[in-house]
Symmetry: D2
Subunit: 346 residues, 4 copies
């Protein structure tokens, strides 16, 4: 079988480099070209010495990457993927976008939260938002795949069964998320300077993070009605991992068993979603470097709250791994092709 | 001026050792005796070599400590402080208890959450729960001071102004807290084994942590009505620090300015509580090794939520520092005596 | 092709669990049984929840493991592998021992450093010490494979070319090594309690670590003459990784180019040893979760010193990965079978 | 007593900010002005929010700082302190320089290692290099105090007694040091970006670090003969702390007791140097946030090596704390004035 030719635009960012890393062991796909604006002309392994002897390709331009590849993964700041998408479609190539440009159904929501209008509104009709466990059916046949954000992935998977089955109220949802520092990217900032971030912890962008409309879009979609949530992210002094603790109000009469049962059923056939046994707590270490989303369910019956803890590796299920899962899905491969990693939990 | 003679029972636990550390630079108090069941007869600096040349005292029995001291700090597992309190009272000495035995107003609540009845119910009439910023007036004259728990300290200070002034609803309060590992104590466990806890993060005891009734007691007290809260603690891979993110529903018509104003006014004269300027986020690093509680206020007006972030050092304002503040208060000293530390924020 | 049936004795220790993890993606071998004295009868995934859905096997006895397997990996405290080896040989099965019992050529050296005599001296004639890059030829045909220690692996690979070609003096060798905490195992101790080890750093067992005789054995072997080295290990507050900085005296007249050339040549065909380009420094993050040993060469020509920095992942090339490499070698498979991981360097 | 008026130039770098922190609790000195090129006109607490309510001074120009102060601490990149020194001397004010400009006796060594000639050679006659425990006598009466570098402080104190008493050879000295990340300063770099530095470890500038000539200057001075050392620093994933492991050859006939005795005697009256009891290892956590230097002595008698482990907090004894110690010394105050901190070791 000839391998799928993959190109990566923005390969020297963390998500791009993680794609290169994961695809290195994909049995059916092969990275044939990588690009980087900042490092064009240098070897990929000059930027990331852990790739010495593994990927010593020279970084090229985005145009060259599109030319050489069947599937293009783009991992770029928002606003840069729309023009790329136009190019890809013109050349009949699939774009899997890890950025924010193709995640929103609503141009208004995008404009409001990203402070920018779509430059190519017509393209968005050709795009799907693809979180496989929830939107699998829509993905095949798309021209552009909008890969979900990291926070929304953990939250959507964590809430879907409860919302779909009407076990919880749709109002008053509180989401307290914590992300490892790779989520902030490879770019330098005082906040992510080692001594300023080590042994530190705080919230940021409380109630105003750009993933909020994406979270609300998915949850509303599942619940079948408009939802407004309160979302507060925090920066965790670890490299990888997102933990989202979601607080949901149980509807009257709903029991713990009913909820647990709905979750187990919803995900019983999902390779990448594990509903943990009663008493266990989802921990980022158990999904590190994997495409798993672990979910644990807890109940505060005094306040009739369902508390969902959902964890992912923000770089894998929250970015590169899920993008590969989407590629697998698109090409009719088993979704876990090249993604059967076990967490190095210690 | 003769120094206050201080004894510490349970000096080799983390809170006990932190008391020894902080009291080493107290100008008016002096540690005259320390005890430890596990290390009796050894030098304190054998257990904690950072004290070599600073405190090489030999660890004694609890009886000897009580004998030699005017003020006894006890830092023990729950259930062990009641008999000690009896001894102290018999000898006319002040007990400041860092454990849980003298925190609850209600014997029922204690029995329910700690699975144990009070052994000396009569003693509790002589005890006060003393979180100075909230209960200052009651402390002087007490025979036993119940020093607050770490989580409750951050949460109570973070919620008091909003509740006192009726700016928020008393129902539906969600508290998502994160604590550094010293909070779990010096005792060994798999969870706190370095490779199992490093680069890890998860919730624990969701909805069932023993600090819950203490939190509800204080918040109800302030609000003037019974409150039930949902409290979920998480273990943070840092040594010190608690961050509590509290989600409160704003009452109709209440504005951001009103809330901010209430907090600034409430704490304008408090040395140890800093209400941060708009746009700042409370970060555990800024209170590390200090007795400060930093509070930042955030508003999600789409959902009409007040989001309070409150941070403390769990070992200082959450334990030893607050205990010393209570001692200062009791003896009529300025509350910050010996507690004017600046955080080593990097 | 039928898969090689592998059993793991001591599967719940870190090295054992790492074997289970790595073998989960081995294309030609399969773990058919695992044992643990402490957790017999429980599921492996109860002890290590990151294996839920991946390996839910019930832990058995060592006897059962030997019965069911062709190859037995043992990861046990020293002294326990000799009786196992006897059993394996009696049943015609290969033992790959990750412990210390089959590493030493000299019964005297073993007795001196491990304070214990061999219980089955005759078995040692059937055993080889197998660090593949250095002793590949001896491995095939052995009945017992002694898998090298973690420190010795980094140091031997780091020194071999210089010693083999007589570029450095054999006396006055100084080895300053630093190891991540998984090297201390899964057992609890105050030193590895999170708050005691986080933000901490110190040497330990200076000049008296049990890996010393193994290091000297290999270096002497390569140099062709008896060597005595000074070896000081340190505990590094990270989970994984060993960095060894080795200080060697350049012989008169030897140039930097000559040394660099010898290293590049020595390892040019070795998949798992990377000699880094001039100016780079070997960093544990670049080999994390991989079987690589990265080596960087530095020269202090004022003092005529060759400074070698060699890094490995102590759990992989320093334990489980190298054991699998040995198994591959033994069975005539490409040595990198199942071992082509790329480091999650961030 | 009127307080000593202190000014800090470069107050927003880590060493400058640490000076502000430590001086906040100095009983006899008071920070009256602070400057920063990057943040002039802003409040110090805007840059470092842990100072809110503690130091809200507005950052001024260097000129203003010199004008208002009796003692000026400068913490600047090399080359910038010479012109400042000229100004200070002209105005009769003491300069304590935490940079590299006034550390070297030899203009040639400075030029060679710092790639820059002295701009004001005449000033250097008025300057002393002041590591109090070794050069106390020279400090009083100086016009400019060159505060030692962090690595040299740990190494000099660690080697002095052995060299002074001729217990070890002066050749073949190997120094393997490890420093926390604050040593690299507050400026951003890829190396100190959190995800690139966390769980990472490597050497850097092996044999070519700029502290080498300073180390050799002090050791030669003490030994009474020219010494060349091999010095390899490493970057440690912690905020604070330097550990130096120094390998020295024992002279023939010298015993362990003799060495231990020399160290204990040398430092018996030194408040800030602790020679640890036999069997203990110097650990950075035990000196964190303090002005201590802990030294442990180890012997590899098979190779006749003395192994010295010396630890300091690079920000305190390695920078700001020692600078204050120098100020105390200069003004005839007890050297530990304002410096009696106990390490928050957990």
């Amino acid at each position: 079988m000839e391998k799928i030719k993959v190109g990566i635009i923005g390969a020297t960012g963390y998500a791009g480099a993680e794609l290169v890393r994961l695809l290195a062991s994909h049995p059916v796909a092969e990275v044939v070209a990588v690009s980087s604006v900042s490092y064009e002309g240098q070897k990929f392994s000059d930027v990331y010495p852990h790739f010495i002897g593994i990927n010593d390709t020279v970084l090229q331009s985005a145009d060259e990457v599109i030319e050489k590849s069947e599937v293009i993964f783009a991992s770029l700041p928002h606003g840069l993927s729309e023009p790329l998408a136009e190019q890809c479609i013109a050349k009949g190539k699939l774009l899997i976008d890890l950025g924010a440009d193709f995640r929103m159904y609503s141009a208004e929501a995008y404009a409001k939260w990203y402070k920018r209008e779509y430059s190519h509104p017509e393209l968005h009709k050709l795009a799907v938002y693809s979180l496989p466990e929830l939107y699998r059916d829509k993905t095949v046949g798309a021209k552009i795949i909008g890969n979900p954000g990291c926070y929304p992935t953990s939250i959507s998977l964590g809430c879907a069964p409860a919302l779909r089955h009407g076990l919880v109220e749709t109002d008053g949802v509180i989401i307290d998320s914590k992300s490892g520092v790779t989520g902030a990217g490879r770019g330098l900032s005082q906040t992510t300077h080692y001594p300023d971030n080590n042994e530190a912890f705080s919230a940021y962008k409380a109630g105003e993070h750009r993933h909020t409309p994406e979270i609300e879009q998915v949850l509303s979609d599942i619940a079948g009605q408009d939802m407004t949530v309160t979302f507060v992210p925090h920066l965790l002094p670890v490299n990888r991992g997102i933990e989202s603790t979601v607080y949901l109000k149980l509807k009257d009469g709903v029991t713990e068993d009913e909820v647990r049962c709905a979750y187990e059923k919803a995900y019983s056939k999902e390779k990448f979603v594990r509903v943990l046994p009663k008493g266990s707590y989802a921990n980022i270490k158990n999904v590190r470097c994997t495409n798993y989303c672990d979910i644990s369910l807890h109940f505060d019956m005094r306040a009739r709250r369902l508390i969902v803890c959902a964890v992912i590796d923000n770089m894998v299920k929250g970015a590169a791994g899920q993008a590969i899962q989407n590629m697998n899905l698109y090409f009719g491969l088993p979704e876990d092709t090249g993604l059967c990693m076990v967490a190095p939990a210690f």
